[in-house]
Symmetry: C2
Subunit: 323 residues, 2 copies
């Protein structure tokens, strides 16, 4: 996925350095470790979390020098969670490339994910910042909890929108919130401004994951680089599906289908059709807009003007992305 180059202009050189640092980081004596890591890097990614960390680091004084170490560690942690997600979901493609588990098998891929987690924590420890480390290890615990809850609630047609939103926070938004918080802390912001930037990250993160879930029912597989309807196929009920379960005239049919756990292609397609007959997508995009409005509204006036307008642009971008 490509982001508009201009949007991150302010941190362009930071992001180049990030890629260089990511590339030079892992030099394992074990060839397979390097191969998997290179494959993951080449698959690219939005680098949203480190980018927000970097933006927040420069949001008090643009000329502040952010810690690339933390930006690298944040991305490594994210990569580790994706690698394990793909094992867990038996995913065959991500970002239009074969997943690590498809190429190297589940055994090695679980270990490669562990390696990335440990490497991330190792470089933060070497950097000597225990508070950051604590926040990031706690976030990994929280992501795991969110994923476990998601796994336990698969095919549970009785779950509420509130439970769904709590999962989004655990899986995604809290990590993005902490990325912003750590950046704000490194910038030397006031506690109130740190809290505001953390809240911004939370709201952007909720909007981001909501959009991700929406794309799973609206985009083409070519656009998102993985099969459409993947969540429903696994019994993971996202906001549009939960909305349809409440509001569709075919809600009983949808509920029965989900409870039966029979996720044949015909059933997945029928399920998606039921969702699209309702205004589930419109409703969900409305929630996305609300989160983004929240994100924009909490940005303090005290921020550096360039950083502030970039953070505004990120919020716009998250609402518009189609892939």
């Amino acid at each position: 996925m490509h982001r508009p180059t201009s949007m991150f202009g302010m941190i362009q050189s930071d992001l180049h350095q990030l890629e260089a640092d990511l590339l030079s980081l892992i030099q394992s004596p074990v060839g397979t470790v390097n191969q998997i890591y290179t494959h993951l890097l080449q698959a690219g990614g939005k680098r949203l979390r480190p980018a927000l960390y970097l933006l927040c680091s420069r949001s008090r004084r643009q000329e502040a020098v952010p810690s690339l170490v933390l930006a690298v560690a944040i991305e490594l942690i994210h990569m580790a969670t994706l690698v394990h997600d793909d094992v867990i979901d038996n995913a065959e493609t991500r970002r239009s490339l074969p997943t690590a588990n498809t190429i190297w098998g589940n055994h090695v891929t679980v270990l490669a994910g562990d390696y990335l987690f440990a490497k991330a924590f190792s470089i933060i420890a070497a950097n000597g910042d225990n508070e950051c480390l604590r926040k990031l290890t706690d976030i990994v615990c929280r992501i795991c909890e969110g994923e476990i809850v998601q796994s336990k609630s698969a095919f549970d047609a009785g779950q509420t929108e509130e439970e769904y939103l709590e999962r989004l926070a655990q899986k995604t938004a809290d990590f993005i919130a902490v990325s912003c918080e750590l950046g704000a802390m490194s910038a030397g912001h006031s506690p109130a401004d740190i809290a505001a930037l953390k809240q911004y990250g939370y709201s952007v993160g909720m909007a981001f994951q909501l959009t991700d879930d929406l794309l799973d029912v609206t985009a083409s597989s070519q656009q998102i680089g993985k099969p459409v309807g993947n969540d429903l196929r696994q019994g993971i009920l996202t906001l549009p599906v939960l909305y349809a379960l409440q509001n569709s005239i075919h809600r009983d049919e949808l509920r029965e289908m989900i409870i039966s756990r029979d996720m044949s292609e015909a059933n997945v397609n029928r399920g998606l059709a039921i969702v699209h007959e309702t205004d589930a997508v419109t409703y969900s995009y409305q929630r996305v807009r609300e989160y983004l409005q929240q994100a924009r509204s909490v940005l303090p006036d005290t921020l550096d003007a360039g950083a502030r307008s970039t953070l505004m642009a990120v919020a716009d971008f998250v609402g518009l992305r189609k892939y």
Copy 2:
């Protein structure tokens, strides 16, 4: 597995406290996390790594107060690696109980392992000791590398004894070495004595893993709490098998069987029979004794006498264990 109570008499109350701390540590809002963790704790374990850490912590002055936090973190890291190992190996039982993956499935178990890793690193970060943290994160990287190499070299009948021993170091001995090193550091030993205790841990660790591999071909499944011949079944070639591949009159048959990757019960049993026809077990136990002799010989005379004799007893115990 039970250890002789008297052996660890010196750190008996530390070990009780360790169990209590382990038990009270994980209070997740997600019930499944607590259930898995309780299951893992109830399955027990030798607590060898934290015990050696604690012994080394008290090996300068017995009345020194060791950090239970590190002992807990060391055991959590070990638990996390076991949990992921069992997913990777599709193991059904460990310590005569069903594995977490058998009860909760691979999805949730991978995440529970990630949670344990993160929790371990979190409590070390909270404890504020970056050097320890760095050493332990690096050990996790090394364990992953060892397991990846092991996975890549499955069914490779051409691997050497040297490569096998290097794997043991990566998988097991280096972690035990660092557990001793961290204990020695906390005791305030001289650099030479710290290095000696680290070397002791390495040698004990090599002997321990060699014995583990030997038990897979010599013990009954009742004794070790998991099926016998498990390594061979997965194509993991341990020292007795590598010895037989060099020295058995049926070495060509054994080699063909391994290369064919046909690990039917009949073939596993025939493979074990070929191993037992040679003096592979005698040879391997000789290597165990050599490592334990090394371990005993490096123990400095400057150690507290009680701690020194306990460390000697641990070396004896590792050579004798039959389960």
